[in-house]
């Protein structure tokens, strides 16, 4: 079954930001990226938490990466 598409309006400055982000990903267009993000929000609205940087975590992972041979 083919997928039907519609249009939505989002601010142009947000589109510009997404265009920048898309360059760092596997997505090929803003449409594809926005569809993926919206699907994720609709489907799993409480699971996609992005962890924040912490120095304690950084020290732990550095130690592990040394043990695995990635860092001197």
């Amino acid at each position: 079954m083919s997928v039907e598409y519609g249009e939505i309006k989002i601010p142009k400055d947000l589109i510009a930001k997404i265009e920048e982000r898309v360059k760092e990903t596997e997505f090929e267009s803003v449409d594809e990226y926005a569809t993926f993000v919206l699907e994720e929000v609709v489907k799993d609205d409480d699971e996609d938490i992005e962890e924040v940087f912490s120095e304690e975590d950084e020290e732990k992972v550095k130690e592990r990466l040394r043990a695995l041979g990635y860092l001197d």
């Binding site: 596997e26 996609d48 992005e50 924040v52 940087f53 732990k60 992972v61 041979g69 860092l71 001197d72």
Partner: protein
């Protein structure tokens, strides 16, 4: 053609959570890598292709020398095939400039003093890994239509990206879904295999102490990574 989809750091828990049906196939489970002192990528893939524990030999090369391990095909089970194709496998024909640069950028990330500098290095690191992933994906796709009796495609993206981004669930999900789509394109019977999985340390990722396997043919239980040389030879 026998196909092995070799995915560095494919995590059993995430394959299930993201419902990657093509990666799971009919039978799947964890590999036992408890005989190794650490879940080191180069040691594990070297042991896979040699069919025996190569930890002592690989570690004797030292932390830097380890990354330059290169076994002759005659020492590996790949030699049992007439026209095998192996793509970017650590310990065999790993693309050294690519993976050396990953480790250089990783080191630069941890040496960076400011958050802005870290952010910029992480972007470069991620781009470098994704560009490589796209090249490997194309090479693997082409090879599926070539005349090989054995094909192994090694994908490093989940490991490389995972080390600096494992806490970014959306990014990891995107990678797992992409790997799942790659698995869907394999029409032959195949094995999906990882060296180890990955566990979260905040936003970062560390190697977990088990790997992942899947097969459409039979339940392999809790195999060792060194068992796969025989398992694959038996499929010939």
């Amino acid at each position: 053609m026998i196909v092995v989809l070799a995915i560095d750091a494919l995590e059993h828990t995430l394959v299930e959570e993201f419902n990657c049906k093509n990666l799971m196939q009919e039978f799947y489970g964890k590999t036992d890598i408890s005989e190794f002192s650490e879940p080191r990528t180069m040691v594990l893939w070297s042991s896979f292709m040699n069919g025996k524990n190569m930890e002592e030999e690989v570690m004797a090369l030292g932390d830097e020398g380890m990354w330059h391990t290169k076994f002759d095909i005659k020492n590996t089970f790949f030699d049992q095939f007439e026209n095998p194709k192996i793509i970017d496998l650590p310990g065999f024909n790993y693309i050294r400039e690519q993976h050396d640069k990953e480790r250089i950028l990783l080191k630069q990330f941890f040496d960076a003093q400011s958050e802005d500098e870290k952010k910029s290095i992480r972007t470069e690191y991620n781009n470098h890994a994704f560009e490589h992933h796209r090249r490997i994906k194309q090479e693997f796709s082409d090879a599926l239509n070539e005349d090989h009796d054995f094909l192994l495609g090694y994908f490093s993206v989940a490991d490389v990206i995972g080390h600096l981004n494992f806490g970014n669930r959306a990014m990891m999900k995107m990678i797992y879904k992409d790997m799942d789509e790659i698995a869907e394109t394999i029409k032959n019977n195949h094995i999906v295999l990882s060296d180890h999985g990955m566990e979260k340390i905040g936003m970062f990722g560390d190697h977990s102490n088990y790997g992942f396997w899947s097969s459409s043919v039979k339940d392999l239980g809790n195999p060792k990574i060194t068992d796969f040389a025989e398992i694959i030879k038996d499929k010939q």
